[in-house]
């Protein structure tokens, strides 16, 4: 029996992505079979993704220590940092210094051998390195290059730096997700823009690939992550556009579903969500909580009344949920055909029976970070099932493969490039500097 090829097998992607959005895009491409070659540099550590080459002790004792297995950065912290390893699967790491002419020559060789170049650095990074599409398309006219800076490659904010939290503020998401009885200072920073930016970037390069399959032509794609995520705010965007109405937050409420909310359960900080979309669901909810008379109460008899009187309804529902286990409520209500779901803690998600049954979790052994359970591919293909095929790469782990097999350098050239610090597995700064406590 021949093994079937994964959809993107044979597609090579140069991955110069950082933090979350770009790496998530290449996770999706890699899960579907694309070869990902990550550009690392011994001279210029990607501190945003692989972390500080030498981790200050203050950072380990603070929240930053959580990023390392058992809060131990080890001698090569860049290989143990979950910030990188969470999206490192299937990536091959090769090292090069793009600021030296020889490094550019090496990189251009890789560009010639690749289909896609994907990067989400601040807009000035590729300009300063002089590896813009204008330059690279002369090296490889078939190249697809995608950039996804926070606010896009043009316009007055093009050099603004952002993560999901502050780009979502600018395009309206933060204003719409506060508690109704509070102000935006009571918001958690969230990063929807990264999730959607990654998904759209993967979509974008595949759309360009489809066009290239038909015509042979490459192209450049510019995505503003903040514009992309604004599509998710459709109802508020269109309400302003159509009616001039400025929507505010609805908290946990939904205009089309009432009652809807988050209710306390038995146990420490444990909650369940319940959401009724129509009269039948409400009737079933009332029966399940032993309050069938609520159905005929004029305050709750129809969906509009229920929406108006949720503040009255919520304590009645809480009174029922408070001493019960969230999973029990979930199953009881779902079996009565009421929409409900436990607010799962991270520790609980790993044991959820449904995800276990679907085989969602996959165990990966990493030579320096150890063996851990990982969320598997979120794309489920039925004929060519997707699984994690390779652990996140150590810094420079695939130098031999990339330099010799992909780029065609000889053993002798390889040795020379290693002597010139293009090739290696340890940052230059980590070799030459002793760990010192951070100071401002």
């Amino acid at each position: 029996m021949t093994t079937m090829k994964l959809p993107l097998e044979g597609i090579r992607v140069i991955d110069m992505t950082i933090v979350w959005a770009g790496p998530f895009a290449t996770v999706l491409l890699g899960d579907m079979g694309a070869e990902l070659i990550r550009v690392d540099s011994l001279q210029h550590p990607d501190v945003n993704t692989r972390g500080q080459p030498i981790v200050p002790p203050a950072q380990i004792s603070g929240g930053g220590g959580l990023q390392y297995p058992n809060r131990d950065p080890g001698p090569r912290p860049w290989n143990r940092n979950t910030q990188f390893n969470q999206t490192g699967r299937h990536k091959k790491s090769f090292t090069v210094d793009l600021q030296r002419p020889k490094g550019r020559e090496i990189f251009f060789r890789l560009v010639r051998q690749s289909d896609i170049f994907l990067e989400n650095n601040a807009a000035d990074v590729v300009e300063n390195l002089d590896i813009t599409y204008e330059v690279l398309s002369k090296v490889n006219p078939h190249l697809i290059m995608m950039s996804l800076p926070a606010f896009g490659g043009t316009g007055p904010y093009r050099h603004f730096k952002a993560v999901g939290a502050n780009m979502e503020a600018v395009v309206g998401h933060t204003w719409l997700r506060t508690y109704p009885d509070s102000d935006p200072t009571s918001t958690t920073p969230v990063f929807l823009a990264d999730a959607c930016g990654g998904a759209s970037a993967a979509f974008a390069v595949l759309a360009a690939l489809q066009y290239r399959i038909k015509t042979g032509r490459g192209q450049h794609i510019d995505m503003s992550q903040s514009e992309n995520v604004m599509h998710c705010l459709s109802q508020a965007v269109m309400d302003y556009s159509m009616n001039g109405r400025v929507q505010g937050t609805m908290g946990n409420r939904d205009p089309a579903r009432a009652p809807q909310g988050v209710y306390p359960c038995a146990g420490e900080d444990s909650w369940v969500t319940i959401s009724c979309g129509n009269d039948e669901e409400f009737r079933a909810l009332c029966a399940a909580i032993g309050q069938p008379s609520l159905v005929v109460d004029p305050r709750f008899a129809d969906s509009v009344s229920r929406y108006r009187n949720q503040d009255v309804l919520d304590p009645i529902i809480s009174g029922w949920t408070r001493d019960k286990v969230h999973y029990d409520i979930f199953h009881t209500l779902q079996k009565a055909e009421v929409t409900a779901g436990p607010v799962l803690k991270v520790s609980e998600v790993f044991h959820d029976p449904h995800l276990l049954d679907r085989g969602f979790w996959e165990t990966i052994s990493h030579p320096e970070a150890g063996t851990h359970v990982n969320p598997g591919p979120i794309i489920e293909l039925t004929k060519t099932p997707l699984h994690i095929r390779a652990a996140p790469p150590l810094l420079g782990q695939h130098n031999e493969y990339v330099y010799k097999e992909v780029l065609g350098y000889s053993d002798q050239e390889y040795q020379q490039l290693a002597a010139q610090d293009f090739i290696g597995d340890t940052y230059v700064v980590a070799r030459t500097q002793q760990a010192t406590p951070a100071s401002p």
């Binding site: 959580l66 514009e227 705010l233 556009s241 159509m242 959820d352």
Partner: protein
């Protein structure tokens, strides 16, 4: 100029949000998307707000109009024998079929992947469902809030003294559609290059759990350290530098951090350059660990913030290396100079609303533009699809209408 997905044909059996957003992306970049709607009212999103001038009319839902740009609409009753036959005829010629019915629906109609594969082995069939097509929760219901709850990050969203809070509107369904679009295109390229058609079983619960908005990070951090990384709490900084949301003269502004080396820049930002080298602030024990010193810094910061607008704070913060963002309302967004300079909003005309501003291209492709066609009226393309393409006569259409097929 040509569009990237020109020539790609998509049968769209989706409704509500996640499915239609997936096919919107395909349609906006050039695929031919035929949206198959039920004859009795069509996509339920036509009944979801907001509505143009608050008039709840099936052709005036802003949500529907936004989610269905560039698609064609036909009506078809898939419960009739003729309806099933027509759907098979369409699937025979299609590259992609996207559906987000409950997992029981397509098999019950005799239109599941094994049946469709028989007539078109190259077909890519994307099935988006709440919990996927297998597993103990397969038949359970889901809404935006329950999806977010079960993905594992809602527990860490909000304040410690309050209940967890969802994100705005229905953003997680949009996110799910966004992932579905990339997965669909990946599988389609595989079908073309390797000749393998297949079905995608996309579970919203899995897309939520493996979400890049803190999901993967929380899970892996927990695996690495045994501790949760994202809990409900006020944002805190490991130093005296600002992190979180702050009030200012006309609203609020988000500080999403910046390198620890920015004390000097911070002083310049708040017009206190005299403090840049003041040991009171820069000695490590005061910089990292002193609540009193942090309080002093916040007092100076607030004094400065209340003299500046959110736009000024954002711009000045960015100038000094801070990841700042004004917390804008939709009115601010529509008046934002950056979005205007990039011409993000585009005007799209529609017979029932006239021209309106819509969110434009998700991304800009240098060779193959995004397109701005309006959403279809219910059944608008019946004649084109049934008569011009499938060879039915106008009289057949009348009979099909009378028999409840279209």
């Amino acid at each position: 100029m040509p569009h990237a997905l020109e020539g790609v044909s998509v049968i769209d059996l989706t409704h509500h949000i996640a499915g239609p957003y997936c096919t919107k992306l395909l349609a906006d970049y050039g695929a031919e998307v035929i949206k198959v709607e039920r004859p009795d009212g069509g996509d339920p999103a036509r009944r979801m707000g907001p509505f143009f001038h608050n008039d709840p009319h099936p052709e005036k839902s802003g949500l529907f109009l936004h989610l269905n740009t560039n698609k064609r609409s036909i009506t078809l009753n898939l419960k009739t024998a003729l309806g099933k036959g027509i759907l098979k005829d369409l699937a025979r010629e299609a590259d992609i079929l996207v559906e987000n019915f409950h997992p029981r629906v397509m098999p019950r109609l005799g239109l599941d992947y094994p049946a469709l594969e028989q007539i078109n082995p190259r077909l890519v069939m994307t099935s988006i469902s709440n919990f996927g097509h297998t597993g103990p929760y397969r038949d359970y219901k889901m809404s935006e809030i329950t999806a977010y709850a079960m993905g594992g990050v809602m527990h860490g969203t909000g304040m410690p003294d309050k209940e967890p809070i969802k994100l705005a509107l229905t953003v997680e369904q949009f996110y799910s559609g966004n992932v579905a679009a990339s997965a669909t295109l990946g599988a389609f390229i595989g079908a073309q290059v390797h000749g393998i058609g297949q079905q995608l079983d996309l579970a919203i619960m899995e897309m939520q759990t493996g979400n890049q908005d803190r999901g993967i990070a929380s899970l892996m951090t927990y695996q690495y350290s045994g501790e949760p990384s994202h809990q409900r709490r006020r944002e805190f900084s490991r130093s005296i530098l600002p992190t979180g949301v702050y009030p200012c003269a006309d609203g609020y502004v988000q500080f999403a951090g910046g390198p620890l080396s920015r004390w000097g820049r911070f002083c310049h930002m708040i017009d206190r350059p005299d403090l840049a080298n003041d040991a009171h602030f820069t000695t490590p024990e005061n910089f990292f660990a002193s609540p009193e010193v942090k309080q002093e810094v916040e007092t100076m910061l607030y004094a400065w913030l209340f003299q500046h607008t959110k736009q000024e704070v954002m711009e000045k913060g960015q100038e000094y290396g801070y990841l700042t963002g004004a917390i804008n309302t939709m009115e601010d967004v529509f008046n934002d100079s950056h979005l205007a300079a990039r011409e993000f909003f585009v005007e799209i005309d529609h017979p029932f609303t006239g021209p309106l501003q819509y969110p434009g291209a998700n991304f800009k492709m240098s060779e193959t533009p995004w397109r701005a066609g309006r959403a279809p009226l219910l059944g608008e393309h019946n004649r084109e699809v049934y008569c011009d393409r499938l060879g039915f006569s106008p009289e057949d259409l009348v009979r099909m209408r009378e028999q409840g097929v279209i």
